[in-house]
Symmetry: C2
Subunit: 253 residues, 2 copies
């Protein structure tokens, strides 16, 4: 039980069993033998301190990264220097899937807290996938899930108001934290107002104002980065009921 994956596994199992996102964690549903096999390729872990980049745009693509603990953001800069955050990533989530096609990274990944990641060398993973059908399946589910999630973000960015966006964002955070055994209603935001805005296609002032508005409406309490969700159902109603940012295609009438 001292191999890297074996050490990571209990946490992953907890995450995966507690949430409906079976496809979240790579080793879910594998036999012990297969896990050992997978384990042989995850040979390294890496610490990333807050503010440090894990990879940057144009970096050669070598490996995927599974967040062991901590909190990352991935972002791109467009030509006028405007930052668009593509996602926030917490324990059990995989980063780098967008880089496979171009062979180098298409976004930057930076740690918002002190983090630890598992390094998954991609060419070795692909070799193993051929031998472990259940792992291949799991991997495809993960990639597919990212696509579906991104479509949810496109919906959010394209059709929602500031209030709806923020509500959807907070519900999504809440669910993901809850799935990890943390409180879904009382937590600390790891990102600034500006970063929330960049993710949601809003300016930081609008994010701030919208927080105040939601607070006035009695849906939550915020004090700087400390958040208490006091009316989850109300937030969900605002966001259009079914957490657009998390399960994009499944909340239709």
């Amino acid at each position: 039980m001292s191999t890297p994956l074996a050490r990571l596994l209990p946490a992953l199992k907890t995450i995966c069993s507690q949430c409906s996102l079976r496809e979240l964690c790579l080793p879910m549903g594998l036999e012990n033998e297969d896990i050992k096999r997978l384990d042989t390729i995850i040979d390294r872990r890496q610490r990333v301190t807050a503010g440090q980049h894990l990879y940057r745009v144009r970096d050669q693509f070598e490996a995927l990264y599974a967040v062991r603990n901590g909190f990352f953001k991935t972002y791109e800069l467009n030509n006028d220097g405007h930052e668009q955050i593509n996602g926030f990533h917490m324990t059990g989530e995989i980063m780098g899937l967008d880089a496979i096609s171009a062979d180098n990274h298409t976004c930057n990944a930076i740690a918002l807290e002190d983090c630890e990641v598992c390094i998954i060398p991609f060419h070795r993973l692909e070799q193993v996938l051929g031998d472990i059908p259940s792992l291949m399946r799991q991997f495809h589910r993960m990639m597919s899930r990212e696509i579906a999630t991104d479509h949810g973000m496109m919906m959010l960015l394209g059709t929602m108001t500031a209030e709806e966006k923020l509500a959807a964002f907070l519900i999504n955070l809440s669910q993901r934290l809850g799935a990890r055994g943390l409180s879904p209603s009382v937590f600390r935001l790891s990102m600034s107002r500006e970063e929330i805005g960049s993710y949601l296609g809003l300016k930081l002032e609008t994010v701030s104002r919208t927080f105040s508005k939601l607070q006035d409406e009695g849906l939550l309490r915020v004090d700087r980065r400390n958040l208490v969700i006091s009316d989850l159902a109300g937030l969900q109603r605002l966001a259009g009921c079914a957490t657009p940012a998390s399960r994009p295609g499944s909340n239709r009438t």
Copy 2:
């Protein structure tokens, strides 16, 4: 040469060799033997007439679809009935990748013209992937490319003005048509102003006005759905130079 894939292949090869999108077409870079093998699982083609759905949200996920010819859109409806178009799909592109994770479709696919698709039963594809490493690699590139493209759309939706959005959209269309041996500067739009707006996060009136504006600026000529791009460089400058909607992560400074 009468197997379905063999029939599809010449067109695909043309597309793939003419564009830089090696990862676009599934059978690129395969040996003849492998192609035969892949061919055995692509057993059916299907005609879809304009206005007809290929699949809908919640439909059981069974297969991926490769567009043989024609033009599709995929879209979702949110709770207030607002439509968000996730993408437009032309010859050689694959639809349905978002459905793998949930086992049912998360968006709707509808033909904007009379179309024909190849049906790729997914469980059989996965079986074959294990035996043909180059095909697996190709498949992963395709999924990854979709993720990178979606991130580009998030950038577009989150940070661009109406003018920039439309310019980026038209450049992307132009490039994809060009890669297929069609004119990159003179073509007919397969979608309405409303559909363009839904894709770009704009209202149809704004799309119409923005077309007029670009025309006044001498960048293009539009007459209903007939388009002539007269100043591609100018459009690219507007869009932020490097075609955000097509190669999202690679156009940074």
